[in-house]
């Protein structure tokens, strides 16, 4: 079970959190101008890689804040956590 460093509360058990899928997928500002394929790209297409992945997490049983996490899915190492709207600290 992960020990997650919530950017607002500090280290907490994974059981307090909820995973929210891939991060940095921005909702299109003008959805009506997109083709079916372009909209489907936003709606359905998600990466599932072995290695460094950018994810959204929510401290659902804590401060309820969403934040981003960089995690290596091959060994579950959390490389960094950062607030929504912030640039990832590692590329």
């Amino acid at each position: 079970m992960f020990l997650i460093n919530c950017p607002f509360c500090g280290e907490r058990e994974q059981s307090e959190f909820k995973a929210g899928g891939e991060a940095h997928i921005v909702r299109p500002k003008q959805p009506t101008e997109l083709s079916d394929d372009e909209w489907a790209e936003y709606l359905f297409m998600r990466k599932n890689i072995k290695g460094i992945q950018f994810e959204r997490w929510n401290h659902i049983h804590g401060c309820r804040k969403w934040f981003n996490m960089i995690r290596d899915t091959s060994n579950d190492q959390i490389k960094a956590v950062y607030k929504m709207g912030e640039k990832p600290p590692v590329k």
Partner: protein, 1003 residues
Amino acid sequence: MPNNLRFKTSKFIDETYRVSFKFNNKIYFGFKGDTLASALLANGIHLVGRSFKYHRPRGIMTSGSEEPNAIIQLHDNSSRTEPNVRATEVEIYEGLVASSQNCWPSVNFDIGGINNLLSPILPAGFYYKTFMWPASFWEKYEYFIRKSAGLGKSPKVADPDIYEHKYIHCDVLVIGAGISGIMAAKMAAKNGFKTLLVDEKSYLGGSSIYDNSEFSKINNQITSSWLEKEINEISKLENLEIKTRTSVAAFHGYNFLLARENLTDHLPINQRENKVRQRLLKIRAKKVITATGSIERPLIFDNNDRPGILLSSAIKRYIDLYGVACGENNILFTNNDTAYETAMSLIQRGIKINAIIDNREQIDSKISYEVEKNNIKIYKGYTVVDTYGYRRINRISIMKLSKDGQTVIGDKTKLNCDCLGVSGGWTPAVHLFTQSGGKLKFREEDQVFIPNVYPSDQISIGSCNGDFGLEEIIKNTLTSIKKFLDIDNSEYKTVETISGLNQSKRNIWLLPSDKSIGKTKSFVDYQNDATAKDIKLALREGFRSIEHVKRYTTTGMGTDQGKLGNMHALGIISETAGTKMGEHGTTTFRPPYTPLTFGTIVGRNVGKFFDIFRRTPIHDWHVANNAEFENVGQWKRAWYYPKDNENMHQAVQRESKAARDSAGILDASTLGKIDIQGTDASEFLNRVYTNAWSKLAVGKCRYGLMLNEDGMVYDDGVTTRLGENHYIMTTTTGGAANVLGKLEDYLQTEWPELDVYLSSVTDHFATISVCGPYSKKIVSKVIPDLDLSDEKFPHMSFKNAKINNIKCRVMRISFTGEHSYEINIQANFGKSVWEKCMEAGKDFNITPYGTETMHLLRAEKGFIIVGQDTDATLTPIDLQMDWIVSKKKYDFIGKRSLYRSDTIREDRKQLVGLLTENPEEVLEEGAQIVADIKKSPIEMLGHVTSSYYSPNLKKSIALGVVKGGKNMLGQKLIIPMENKNINVTVADPVFLDKEGERLNAKL
């Protein structure tokens, strides 16, 4: 008790304290300090169980948690009965009752033993191969297979014991209290680390605590004496907590571990009253030191499973720790020096050793010379090729090994014995390390897997790290712990060790035999009866992956998870396939290390604590008034209120009629309520609902439909504008938490620029809905100051009011299609206001109704219930609710998806009304809907989502989803049921008062 097997030399056994126990209905005696296994051995009993597949007689093989054979049923038929308990781990107490498993009628004469004779036709994969055809016979086979499957009996009544969970946080966790674990714990605790030391045994010190040999010494003291002083010292350390009888079950990522602490299993039953039996420790450690030791390997030869064949180290433990001799005529069979330590322990007590069979041609160690000096015959370069004796070993035959160890040569020699100790070297117990995600490497010299890459802040020390010699263990423990904890002071000055053992080993995974492999039974997995022959067969049949071979042959799949034989299986696979052992890797080690009881896993979360449930503020009134309850999410909701022995149907018919003819009252407190404030609240609602919100006047209410981004209906409810920048949103009962989560998600991640704040106020208000033709009269009696005239308080509007000076919010909204009011008041006044309404409605036949009637009433009006009539595949267009989707709004959640090529298909499933040909016939919810029953296969067009008998319309009504249903109005369809076909007609989903006359009636 045959006294010749018990030696009064052990300080771990209290010979003044005799304990009686029952095994297979016979009474025996042991001493305090015995395990069930040691006490049975002291009574000369080796045969304790039958194997799983062949029902072969099996005896005690080990002295610890790795035991594959001596698994027994504890507490026989009592409520505490527990199957698959390792006799080697059970500490005996007065009155213990245990029996053998997997045998009938008895362990000495077992009918299932016939499987042993049938074994040539029971190869690996027998079940897969045999019971495949004819396929239709499977159901008949299954009965017999199930009957013969499984070990032991599960309890049939509730567990009387108490269990609990506990969190522990520490700087350093040390697993295993052998020499290296004790040293590590001392170094950590003395250097200021808050340390926890756990060990699965009842005593500390591991196998060194009974090592009294002159051949291994520390600082010129006998190992056990040196260690005792160390234990004495650490037990006084303030920084160190020690837990014995505590077995680590799982080592998860981020140094999160689960351990089971056994608190009462060693006590007589009458001393366990009101005590916690087992505790599940949830340990989060900053640093973990694994010192779990190693497990001795057996040797794989023909008939290596007879009762009386034990690991050599187990024989040593039984004599040194418990003072019990496993036999009177012993033979040891080894490929390394460990067995000579056992030999010395036996020699010291004058127990006879008939011979030692050693695979090695050259043996060069002090201890082996000493054994030879005692006139023990050592057969060097020999192997055992067969054993004899059905219920107990009585003879073995040996032959000389060829130079390459692949064959046997020369003549067969037969030797008598009643106990055979085997030693194939040691396997580091890396189970926990690999569970944590650690990667192993294979060390060729002595053919062991050892820790290589650590996934977290942890280290393995001692023999679980592949250090087997005393000197190595101590030296490496000191240096690696100093480095690991980053400390200067090791707490130890020079530690001098002397060891008479040499680490040489001649490793042969499968020992050769004079017979062909097909004629041998060389067991690799004792519990599941997997033999070397089975593994070779699997390879011949094309299995290559170790994971596949494991499942096909069931090697390592017993309750012991193959702690003894898994390495040999790997070895035999790589030898047969001609591959390198390190390349195969190992099978996956999964938690728990030893089985956990269900009680430990669930802890206190049993009975009424199994799951929490939520009650409305009016709950007690519902209980007092005979309500039946329904679970909705975690809520208990009043379902219906039966009167005078009514059944559910009768009650619901009465309640429904009353709600339309006079007055009904519903507890709607469970509806989710979200308070929305901020200058951008209107804009926010515009974005999350499909309809427009900017123009909603203060004091007005509006129904809203919320979609997912994929266009599918997610939730619905009425939202009221309380002020310029203040709304209260209601959600479905079950969806409340998820809706709040979703709204927060958009607010925080997509639209952080919006000035909007959300808070859940579901629990803060009680919600009472009064409906029906007399609702106005009733509410005006409860809140006389409130002007209820249609001009001042029209449908879909809201008023602040006061009841006895308590503020409340009243909405005129309706889920039934009747004129109705919803009173929202601070939760703690809910029950008294409800009672006030009941009192006020006494003369108007006010009738409390539950969720079932609510569902019926709304179905008459064709109102959907999200989650019942929808299932995340329906858009508002599919629901024929086009009217609620704004055409003008530029964007809202899910808008773009409403005109994807898939969502604009005409033949999507759409919500329709269904009327049965026979108005008395009520459809079953979930029933399939078809057009043509002659077509094969029948095309399913959809299914019934809601169905009721309407007392107001005096006919059966139903809602359903049907492919292309929108254009099928009036069309005949069929609902095929098990014994009949029901004819239905597609109808408008609004069955009652489409014009809304009842809603707007002048009352």
